[in-house]
Amino acid sequence: MQWKSSLLAAAFAGIGLAATAGTASAAGPTCKDGTIKVGAVSTITGPADFSEVPKATQAAFDAVNAAGGINGCKIDYTIADDKADPAVAAQAARDLIDNKEAVALVGSGSLLDCAVNSATYSRKKILSVQGLGVDAACFSSPNVAPVNVGPYTLSTAMAWYATNQLKSEKLCAFFIIIGGTQEAYKKAIENWEKISGKKIHLIDLTLPFQGDLTPYVIKARDAGCDAVLTNQVEPQVVQLIKTVDAQKISGINWLFLAPGYTEQVASALADTKQPIYVGTEWEPFTEKSSAANAQWVADMQKAGRPLTAFSQGGYLAAQLFVKVVASIDGEVTRESVSKALHEMQPITNPLAGSPYVFGTAKMHSPMQSTKVMKLEKGAWTVETPDWVVLPQAK
């Protein structure tokens, strides 16, 4: 019987070896229970609604899962609503990290997630591929790297566009300052001054969130501004231009950031003759037929989701995350995902003008390009078919 059991043992050993060899040759991500747990902290109810961002991330993950997942691993995605309330936001992040055991945060879009939670993310060693970075902390934290350009870099980029392409000589900037954003906007203008070698003609950091804008547009006119850059959000963009029209001001280019780039603004300002420009965070979402948007449009339509700029952010975050996870060799854990994001090579995606990279820097703002849209007769038209890429400061 001796030889029989020896043979059996040898056979088992052989199978075992083969099995080990099998795993080794099929390099790629593996997962416990067949799922990869991912979360997002977003403002869904409250003064603002950024739910389009994580919902698009969800749609993109659903598409991946339907196609078999990442190397067989399905993504289990949880969206937590922070209600724009710091206490709720902190609780939501803890729940995702400790109870849901998320390996990373993907596609968050929130008024205060970064400001409230970035310290927690650092402490818990979890990284966030933010779908829409809103507050200044999203661009100054080691554990958050947004997939959008963000208001500060976009301010620099639009100022650069004004001097470089619109040939503005007297650029003025009017900013609404909410919370701790004053330094970030000042820095944005300083960066532009370094890049362009020009000086800002007038900078006003006192624009009111609500109130009459007549004194401000008069101030811009009397100061002789030939271009005005402001960070007004949607309804105020409409108010500003209506006030400019009421004051019969002409000869000033009006430059806004991405929040002004919506179809509602276009239709509310259909009658104005003012030259209005906005910078986009990604490939212009109103260009539904552009090749860069094709995959996004197809996936969103399949999921029955509206085609908005916010949804591009969530979708892009999901796409980039899936690519990074697919490059992991071994089990997908918080550690391995963080390591992969830290060591990743820049990934290009047609939705964005800059390659995305997380990396190990103390702060992240990988997206440095915009496309500029011009408002013409109630519709947005592409002013720069090529990306306006911000050069490095001299």
């Binding site: 003064p47 603002a48 609604d49 300052i177 006003d204 950091l205 006192t206 009111p208 969130f209 609500q210 109130g211 009459d212 007549t214 004194p215 401000y216 008069i218 101030k219 009397d222 959000v233 949607e234 309804p235 105020q236 963009v237 409409v238 108010q239 209506k242 006030t243 009421a246 004051q247 019969k248 919506t262 509602q264 603004v265 239709s267 509310a268 259909a270």
Partner: protein
């Protein structure tokens, strides 16, 4: 100096708005004894009906009438709540109730009107009336100031020279006694609420195109309006009118001085504080006499 004049004139638009809404607030207070925080929100509700109809392709003026009708109904509804359940409550309770109602109306209004998304607000009176100190004074702002003045004159005449006016004043001061005298308290109150509802709606329709076109911003115009009403100590229509316009002028001038302009939104608060101190001082004197 010239820049200061220019920015003062630029503040006229806001001043007319504050004056008009302030006078409405004083009217409500003197007739139904409520410091009404929902004033601008009632007008905003009616204005958004106009916007919805206009965006759906209806002609402007019938939509304006429909909007005013809705503003009136909302005014009456709030009046009903106030007279039915809080008729006997103290002035401060009533004010607190209207604050709660304001928060509720804004929350519902924001949901129904698509949150912060701007709307296409038709300009009822487009164009510029004249140019002064390098600023176009729009027809709409002339109209708001004119309407505020007209309302001031009419309200003064109505309260002091008509029987209904007298009845209404009795109602505000001593509702119980007025009821015993046979005055139809509930009906008259609702009439006042409906009238101010209609009037503020029309006022808001004129003002809205120059402001940020979303529900919350328009509803919160009530804050400077109440500051103006306080200048008139919730009694004098003329002082409220002057207070509203003055507030606008000061705000305008403040925006031309960099060091002050970041505190510009605190100006109504400072005005309120100054007025309260001033009125207290008078009380002191009275006591001392």
């Amino acid at each position: 100096m010239n820049a200061l004049l220019t920015s003062a004139v630029a503040g006229l638009t806001a001043g007319g708005t504050y004056a008009l809404l302030g006078v409405c607030a004083v009217f409500t207070y003197r007739l139904v004894a409520v410091v009404n925080f929902t004033g601008a929100a009632i007008g905003t509700a009616g204005t958004f009906v106009l916007i919805a109809l206009y965006e759906a392709g209806f002609p402007i003026w019938p939509s304006v009438l429909a909007g005013i009708a809705v503003g009136t109904v909302v005014g009456v509804a709030i009046g009903y709540i106030m007279t039915r359940w809080f008729g006997e409550a103290s002035a401060s309770t009533k004010a607190a109730v209207t604050v709660a109602l304001l928060v509720g109306i804004i929350a519902i209004g924001l949901r129904l009107t698509g949150g912060q998304h701007p709307h296409n607000m038709p300009e009822l009176f487009p164009g510029s009336a004249f140019r002064m100190a390098g600023v176009e004074v729009t027809i709409a702002s002339v109209l708001t100031i004119g309407l505020a003045a007209l309302f001031t004159v009419l309200a003064d005449l109505f309260l002091n020279n008509t029987k209904v006016g007298l009845n209404l004043r009795a109602l505000a001061d001593r509702p119980m006694a007025a009821e015993l005298l046979g005055i139809r308290v509930q009906l008259l109150s609702l009439l006042v609420w409906g009238m101010t509802g209609a009037f503020t709606t029309f006022a808001l329709m004129i003002i809205a195109p120059q402001r940020s076109p979303n529900f919350m911003t328009l509803s919160l115009l009530v804050v400077p309006a109440l500051a103006a009403a306080l200048v008139g100590l919730f009694r004098s229509f003329w002082r409220t009118l002057a207070g509203g316009i003055g507030l606008g002028l000061v705000e305008g001038m403040a925006s031309s001085v960099d060091s002050i302009s970041q505190y510009r939104s605190a100006i109504p608060f400072l005005v309120v504080l100054a007025v309260l101190l001033w009125s207290q001082r008078e009380a002191r004197w009275d006591e001392a006499r």
